[in-house]
Amino acid sequence: MSGALASVPVRAIVRGLADAAARWADADFPPRVRVLDAIVARTGYALPVVEYALDRLFEAISEPALTATIAGELGSLDALDGWTARAGRGRARALPVGPVCIVSSRTTIGVAIPAAVYALCAKCDVVVKDREDHLVAAFFASLAQEHDAFAGAASAETWSGSHDARDLSGFAAVVAYGRSDTLAEIRAACAPEARFAGYGARASVGYVTRESLADERAADAIAEGAARDLVLYESEGCLSLHALFVERGGAIAPARFAGLLTRALERAHVEFPPGERGAGASARLGSARALAAFRAASGTGAVYGDAAARHLLVLDPPASEPPLLLPRALNLHVVDGPDDATAYLQRHRIALEAVAASGKRDDVVKMAVDAGAARIAPFGALQSPQMEGNHGGRFRIAEYIRWITEDT
């Protein structure tokens, strides 16, 4: 086994990762403070949004979370350090698959880091090709302070697109995020036997059951969470709320819920101010708002917004209307049940990453399963995935492991 981390016990690796992450979870940690401006400049997000993202990202990287995931996927941590006995089967050992490359151009904040963390837990050498904010490089520098071996195992380079794609043939595993055409290009550049994990076009939706709309207080809590799920990262991520389904028949009617959500959005704008918005997005938002207002004037649906155009909420648009896919803009579809949501998702061929649900009713869970979701979360937590979770429905560490087993 080669690699800079080969002789480092996995528990030491996990501890080093968690300790570095703990330092990064501190808002006053100087390296974190130094990269803030660059992240704001790259993403256009407001500073509180960036701070929130970094808090969530690094708070999630903890020893318990990492050890639980490793043990869950590999059976034990010991398999990474040596041969381990397995009940009813021969011994096995989890070896690093080889050098790993993570391409995270044009992503939300720090998407590459969880993947890199697990690849390092697998004792792989990791290269992250990232954008120019240098967040990953700065985190890797902190890792090197935790353990010298990280300096040789983890490196970050600036991704320059197609040119860099030609250099991917030497990696045993490649993880990439981006549009389908980007993923196809990267995949084509990988060695034939390399493992490829592409995280392509996905969206997330919310589903509010009628039972959960039992009273104003309960509805308000859901609205509060949905507002957060919508405004964070300007609705750009695969975990952003891209459509919301609200059932008829609750004590709180969908139109009333829309009103509560509007108020919650106004509060959310205070905690998470809107980021920079390009003229194109503003134009599309203006057009979408005007169209919704036009329909509302004709008796179809309603439109909610504010004078500053910080958000757009459209109640009951036609089912033929695809998600708005605009900053802080959301279509709220009134439905009779999860079948309506399923039909909508199928009609627009939306691949789901996650579903925010106000209750774990069986038919709602089935809708999420049928739609291909990798995660079901409560409202308000959609944008805070757990390290133990399976992004894209994939294993977290097993992707970076080559097993060797002994016959019994």
Partner: protein, 361 residues
Amino acid sequence: MSYNRESGELDAEILRVISGWHRHGRGLSDAEFEDLAQRIFAYQLRYDEPYARYCGSLGITAGAMPASWHEIPAVPTAAFKEATLATFDPARAALAFETSGTTKGVGGRHYMETRALYDASLLAGFDRFVLADGAELRYFNLVPNPADRPQSSLGYMMGRVCAERGDGDTGWYLRGDDLFVDAFIADARAAVEDGVPVCIAGTAFAFVQLCDELAARDATFAFAPGSRIMETGGFKGRSRIVSRDDLYAALVGRFGIPGERIVAEYSMTELSSQWYDGADRIKHGPPWLRARVTGADGATLPSGVVGALVHVDLANRSSCLAVQTEDLGAAMGDGIVLIGREQGAELRGCSLDAETLRAIR
């Protein structure tokens, strides 16, 4: 006053404005534009029910009129797909143009009660911005033939231009997605041999396709002096986009027509009038067509700031005079600089973006 009489009087007034500019170069003062816009808007509030309902929802009614034409509510272009926006029974429409369904693959219709306004407006604009020298040209069209596709506003426009200003040997080379390159080459060679100046009119995408085909055949032409090109925006829904500079360079090389003889036209099915590039590459319109550039809140932005274009076209008497687009531009002097339309939301990472969604639908 009856609807017919009121409509007739407004049409006569608009036609006088068009004719005054077309024949005598007379413009419209701000006050004159304001007055006519307000009266057409008041008329549309009375007779265009969906538009009036929309305006009413925004607090604009006959009893609460906008303070200026800047505040006349603009209907989004997509509204033409949602409702019949007309002051009259569309069964009586003299013209009905179909929108391309740019964003969702669903088209809408722009009905016009009379051809007179549309024809007068398009000819006045074309004469001023494309035929300022009064040239009689042979027209080669890379746009739909109105005989095959009468619902195409671009096809209709070029049909009228060819009928009124052409030499009688008009060519049409686009049917559906098919470009008849061999026919174009044969007609082009004849025009070159005869020394007849031509006007080649088409969408940017059609020109790209034609240039590709001509390059594959190694065909170039040296059209007679006075020849020109009218290019109109048109990459909608197409995957291959080239820069305007590259396209114009290709056109100059392929046809021997100087760059200053390439005129970019910009309009949309929902309008009755057109913008054209001046020598300064700023788009200018006739006096009855104005634009305002709006921000996210719908307010008019200062000159030079990029925002969404809202067009106010007084020749849209029988539909809606104010149309909101997703096209980006900036006011510049008495014209606009057209930036174009961004191709969907710039979403990040593993998220679903608008272009991807559009592509898989």
